[in-house]
Amino acid sequence: MSRVRVLIRPKAGILDPQGQSVERALPALGFEGVSHVHVGRLVELDVEDTSQVAAMCEQLLANPLIEDYEIQS
């Protein structure tokens, strides 16, 4: 079993309203100098066969039309 992490984020150019909201909120809390905020999803899983993870991302974990993903294992 290997522990794998999948990081999923909105594709470049795709509207990311959550990222915008966080970027707006941070200065109000006194955190300056923050930019390019994006909010995505994190999926953690134990897999027997890590070679399958990319296919899982394409089919289920991410929506390839609007999201990019990155696999950390």
């Binding site: 150019g13 309203p17 707006r24 609007i66």
Partner: protein, 587 residues
């Protein structure tokens, strides 16, 4: 292939553009023309037929031609409503496609100044019991509609769903919205007042939904992936702010004209505002706030980024307008000016990058005669026979369990049907939704009836209906039946129809048998409306709905708004109390 063909323009249309411009169009102009002369904006194959629909009625306030139509529902109060399709985007990305469909129809309602109060949806998918793809489309489309309507705080009060084979490749997602407005506050979309300022407000502009026009950037497309057009993503949070901001701007009397940006974005909104006002507009695409760097002028003109509005403001009021935008945390930017040129001129900074006569864009889009021909053989395979048992008990259980009869609770429970505190009949409690009208004793659009008030509570009722299978069997009668069924739904709660909206979902009208379906259905729709004396206040046409296996069932969807004198007497489904008498009424 020539670029104009890739953009969907025929050689004939291209030559017509050249003759109207008296030169070859440049990239920006070609993009703008291709959108304005598309079926979606230009109604090339439907305009002459739509003209046959009756649009007059004693309660009509606003007929077809504006962002939404409206009927009078109480002295000084109008109900605006419209239905629109988002079929193709939903087939690509069902959640975002359905969500942005709701967002778009809501903008149509508040673009005329009305506060949206309700949403309905009309959905068609392939057979869910056998198709995983249809199940996926259903789940995601319903989730998308719920997400948008729930998040923006507008009640989704009704709708309908059918599952039939012909929708397998091409689902239908139609959304209807209703709003209320004091009649004297209606705002038009006609730009007016030479020297007045054009302000764009709402979300930033990205490369969303650039679709066909991306061929204009095809050189770069191969080299840099991020120039690719992107799927439209809806953001109900931004739209909620946009809605409140728009209504506040109108309430303060700051606007000369207002228009939403729908399909074809800045292009169609600016051209239509100019056309209606018989004026010209100069726009500077450099001033448009962008989400992405390096967008070309044509991309800015055709972007379908959601949650944006365009308004015309007197120069002295611009600062006030921008202040209201700022208060609602909405970007507002002056991007242009009203001129007397009757031309749409697009600037990039100081250089002129597009210059087109407004009449050519809007009024002179060519229309085409259809060549209807009744097919000699059935177009659709007979639906599969699934019930073979002769045991009535078994048949009943099988029927109740079939996808088209089963309860829709799974779907409508995902919709907030009560926000606004006016929903007297929720989904499944009656055949039509019943919504109380404001009492007028406080904020005129707020419902507040003091406890124990005995007075009648005037209300409106709304329903949406369509049955593609029956229209496929007989387009004329099927369309008539859609109006009848919708009216019957209103009658069941005690309401009388006041006005009708429709969405005409059909296949490719250039095929004679589709043209026949389309022509016959519109004739049926018109006759039924005339028979009832109901005006058609607006609607939408969605053509070319075809999958690999052929056209969808011809699916005119009808939305009706009616009035009932007292919500306390609204009919309901189900037997309420023991001992009540059950009657059967027949003709």
């Amino acid at each position: 292939m020539a670029k104009h063909r890739e953009l969907g323009l025929t050689d004939y249309e291209y030559d017509l553009i050249v003759s109207k411009l008296e030169r070859e169009p440049n990239e920006v102009e070609l993009a703008v023309f291709s959108l304005m002369w598309s079926e979606h904006c230009g109604y090339k194959h439907s305009r002459p037929l739509l003209k046959t629909l009756p649009t007059e009625g004693p309660r009509l306030v606003l007929g077809p031609g504006e962002n939404a139509g409206a009927v009078s529902v109480a002295p000084g109060l109008a109900c605006a409503f419209k239905v629109e399709s988002h079929n193709h985007p939903s087939a690509v990305e069902p959640f975002e496609g359905a969500a942005t469909g709701v967002g778009g129809i809501l903008r149509d309602i508040f673009a005329i100044g009305a506060r949206p109060i309700a949403i309905l949806d009309s959905l068609r998918f392939g057979e869910v019991s056998t198709s995983a793809r249809s199940r996926y489309l259903l789940e995601r489309a319903v989730a998308g509609i719920g997400h948008y309507g729930n998040s923006i705080g507008i009640a989704t009060v009704g709708g309908e769903i059918y599952f039939e084979g012909p929708y397998e490749q091409n689902c239908l997602v139609n959304a209807m919205a209703l709003g209320l407005i004091e009649t004297d506050k209606l705002i038009r979309s006609a730009a007016a007042g030479v020297g007045n300022i054009v302000v764009l407000f709402g979300a930033k502009t990205g490369r969303d939904g650039i679709g066909g026009a991306s061929v204009l950037a095809s050189a770069e497309l191969d080299s840099s992936e991020d120039k690719r057009p992107t799927v439209q993503i809806g953001d109900p949070f931004t739209e909620k702010k946009l809605l409140e901001c728009s209504l506040e701007l109108l309430d303060r009397g700051l606007l000369v004209a207002l228009q939403d940006l729908g399909a074809a974005g800045l292009t169609s909104s600016s051209a239509e505002m100019a056309s209606k006002g018989e004026v010209g507009l100069d726009l500077d695409v450099r001033k448009v706030p962008l989400r992405e760097e390096g967008m070309e002028p044509f991309e800015i003109m055709v972007s379908e980024s959601q949650e944006r509005m365009l308004c015309v403001v007197e120069p002295a009021r611009v600062d006030e307008v921008l202040a209201v935008c700022a208060r609602w945390e909405v970007d507002g930017t002056a991007i242009g000016v009203v001129t007397d040129t009757r031309r749409l001129r697009v600037f990039e900074g100081t250089s002129l990058v597009g210059d087109m006569p407004v009449t050519a864009l809007v009024d002179e889009c060519p229309t085409y005669e259809l060549s209807p021909a009744e097919p000699a053989t059935p177009l659709y395979p007979a639906p599969p026979v699934v019930l073979t048992s002769s045991d009535p008990g078994e048949v009943l259980v099988a029927l109740l369990g079939s996808s088209n009869v089963a309860s829709r609770k799974w779907a409508f429970e995902q919709y907030d049907s009560i926000v606004g505190s006016r929903t007297v009949r929720r989904p499944e409690s009656a055949d039509a939704a019943v919504l109380m009208l404001p009492s007028g004793d406080t904020d005129p659009l707020t419902v507040l009836y003091p406890d124990g008030s005995d007075g009648a509570r005037p209300a409106i009722a709304v329903a949406i209906d369509g049955n593609g299978r029956r229209v496929a069997a007989d387009p004329y009668r099927g369309a008539v039946e859609a109006v009848l069924e919708c009216s019957a739904n209103l009658a069941c709660v005690g309401a009388e129809p006041l006005g009708l909206t429709n969405c005409l979902n059909f296949g490719n009208p250039e095929k004679p048998h589709i043209a026949w379906q389309f022509t016959r259905a519109i004739a049926g729709l018109g006759d039924a409306c005339r028979g009832f004396g109901i005006p058609v206040v607006g609607g939408n046409v969605s053509l070319y709905n075809e999958g690999g296996e052929g056209p969808i069932y011809p699916t005119p969807v009808v939305g009706l708004v009616g009035e009932l004198p007292d919500a306390r007497r609204a009919g309901r489904l189900g037997f309420l109390a023991e001992g009540d008498v059950i009657g059967l009424v027949t003709a």
